[in-house]
Symmetry: C2
Subunit: 167 residues, 2 copies
């Protein structure tokens, strides 16, 4: 299974593609979609939409994983972030990808082992788990962590189902 | 000029198309895009995206007008609304429409004459200004009001430019 993780933002949208390989994982690609600081909101969303679409067309993931947002940001930031997140989701949905949502707690727990991990710990663990030569940029690392979280949960469910069938 | 007004929401997205006719306006069409209460967020956004795209393809507006949001809703509602609003904007942007944003104050002032007008007053004025036979549903009325606001402002600017050129 090949998973696209997305960490949406109006300025930087991180993305990462990971696939399962035997009982482990393989890094496929990662990067970030940066919108121009001078661009209007519609143009920024257009940039996120076409950026996410291009990543899906190039790397052909089967599912997408997007972080759920519960942070106590203010109303205007939430509205802004909602625009970017909605755009990323609708781009994946338009290309037929099922979308799974995980909380930051679930993602950190999957990658670092505990939910209160720092951003830097997530970056370091993602680098190690995927045998990357360099530390991925923060938004891309979060996106890769989201993809890994889905793979772990999906393989967990697959293992459960296999065990149940074996009974 | 033909303007599409959009009043986005995750449950109901109102839309209305109005065009200028001489020094007045003409109602073209209006309606609302309703998403299923049982649908997932990605499917709801997909429904808004394809609904707005279909309206644009059918009625061929040249610009879109979307209300800016400043209301003191809570963070989770703002995030939700942001998803719907971002989706509507990116659909219009994908089909090449320039997008204008107006505050509720500007829209009410344009349609009713004062910024603190009630929702019902907006509905009644939209019905009257566009000679509709029935009161439009609230979200569609807000969308039509947004379109009218843009037409009034655009014709105001056009009149100013014409006067300046005549000097």
């Amino acid at each position: 299974m090949r998973v696209l993780g997305i960490d949406p933002g109006t300025v930087i949208t991180g993305w990462g593609v990971v696939e399962s390989k035997g009982s482990g994982f393989r890094h496929v690609a990662h990067g970030s979609i940066r919108t121009s600081a001078e661009a209007s909101l519609p143009d920024r969303l257009g940039c996120i939409f076409s950026g996410v679409s291009a990543v899906i067309r190039e790397h052909q993931p089967e599912v997408a994983s997007v972080e759920e947002i519960f942070v106590s940001i203010n109303v205007q930031s939430a509205l802004k972030l909602g625009h970017a997140r909605g755009t990323a989701i609708v781009a994946a949905n338009a290309l037929g990808l099922p979308i799974f949502e995980y909380t930051a707690l679930q993602i950190k727990q999957a990658v670092v082992g505990f939910g209160r991990a720092e951003k830097q710990q997530v970056q370091a663990m993602v680098k190690m788990l995927l045998s990357l030569s360099a530390l991925p940029q923060q938004d891309a690392a979060d996106a890769l962590a989201g993809a890994l979280c889905h793979l772990q949960r999906a393989s967990g469910v697959a293992a459960l189902l296999a065990r149940q069938e074996a009974r």
